[in-house]
Amino acid sequence: MTARRLLPLVLALCLLLAGCGARENSAAFYAMSTYMTIRAWDADDALLRRAEETVAELEQRLSVTREDSELAVLNRTGTVRLSADGAALLRRALALCAATDGALDLSVYPVVRAWGFTTQDYRVPDAAELDALLARVDYTRVTLEDDGTVTVPAGMELDLGAVAKGWAGDRLAQLLRDGGVTSAILSLGGNVQTVGARPDGDAWNVAVRDPSGEGMLGVVRAADEAVVTSGGYERYFVDDAGVVRWHIMDPATGYPARSGLVSVTVVGAEGVVCDALSTALFVMGAERAEDYWRAHRDFECLLVTEDGALLLTPGLAARFTPADGLSYEVRVIADA
């Protein structure tokens, strides 16, 4: 009698303990010019191999620097029919360019190249050269048809670099979920993508790099979300006049964005949105970024200003822990 009554309890305890034993598996590889790592619980080797192949396929199709990629063909000939994947990403990215009023512009690529960021052969283009290049920058002149055919005006070139890693994170998260994984964390060269929460049920602790050094600003707790940071410190050079020139371009001026921000972190459900917004908000500067957040509110962000302030949306402030001895002034962005 007692034994029968206790049996369900025993089974429940066994299940509980089995849950504690989820097995960690991991993969690390280079893709999209970065180092990527995946830590997933209860994922077999085949699933992680599929993840690696998925990124390689995306890169093969969409990298602007691969001569045979769909994007390279577009930039050479002015038109191409994109794969379903490429078309979906481009459609999403163009919508984000419009939403950010051009603070993100996929067609700024010729300007980025003129500054030498594609080859690391850095130089400062003169005003006349930039004016000529800026005449070719305008995402609104890109046409994308329902069948995936994209056409750009003569001289325009597109680059999906500002959204590709975020998109890849979304794709990989979905691949892992479809494979039955409920707990995983992916690092795609500075983009963090999480699947579910940690195996112990707590949220993932995602540290955010301090733009002024090797340390961390603090830790953001995240679950089923992407955490993406854009910072001037990632890629830059110092010109002959001693001015720091970083890779994040202001599409309106053709110069590296000097908006008063040095780092922007965006937390949200979709990696592609976080990736696009981390760049766009950086270009906008604190004031416009705060307005953008108040108008949309479907993401959280952390802005670091040149003068040492750390601005957080209220929702992020509640799950952000500053690092020991952080010297920044922490401020919460006004709700209205």
Binding site: T2, A3, L6, L7, L9, V10, L13, C14, L16, L17, C20, R39, I185, S187, G190, N191, V192, T194, R198, D200, W204, N205, V206, A207, V208, R209, P211, M216, G218, V219, V220, V227, V228, T229, G231, E234, S263, T265, L312, A317, A318, F320, T321, P322, A323, D324, G325, L326, V330, V332
Partner: protein, 124 residues
């Protein structure tokens, strides 16, 4: 029948011990020396008291203009002065207990101890 009962009892005992162990391990974070300075639910600063070598102080200003001066010394922290009406935070003295943070209710400020957290990944 007795045999079954014994087995079940043994299994239950074993499972219970393992479950308690698992939970204990999960929550076994050192009481720690890390203090959070929290205002209105927002962590403004995190300070590891074990790494403080020289005393210093800083002022926290609340939304309505009130201020608390926080004094940090090697291994300990307190509110040293404040312009709040009740002065409870100042009278509390040094923060000593994880379960009892030093609180300034009028200014919605708290000093609290926490355990260590290690990051799972780094963005940026």
């Amino acid at each position: 029948m007795l045999k079954t009962k014994t087995w079940v009892a043994a299994l239950v005992a074993l499972a219970a011990v393992l479950a308690v162990l698992a939970l204990a391990l999960r929550h076994a974070r050192a009481p720690g020396t890390v203090v959070e300075v929290v205002q209105d639910g927002v962590v403004l600063r995190t300070i590891d008291l074990a790494r403080v070598t020289e005393a210093y102080s800083f002022t926290v200003t609340s939304a309505d203009g009130g201020s608390n001066v926080v004094l940090v010394e090697p291994g300990r922290i307190r509110v040293s002065s404040a312009d709040c009406p009740d002065q409870i935070c100042v009278q509390r003295g040094w923060l000593s207990d994880q379960a009892a943070p030093v609180v300034c209710l009028p200014h919605r400020l708290a000093l609290r101890l926490r355990g260590e957290t290690a990051a799972d990944a780094v963005a940026g």
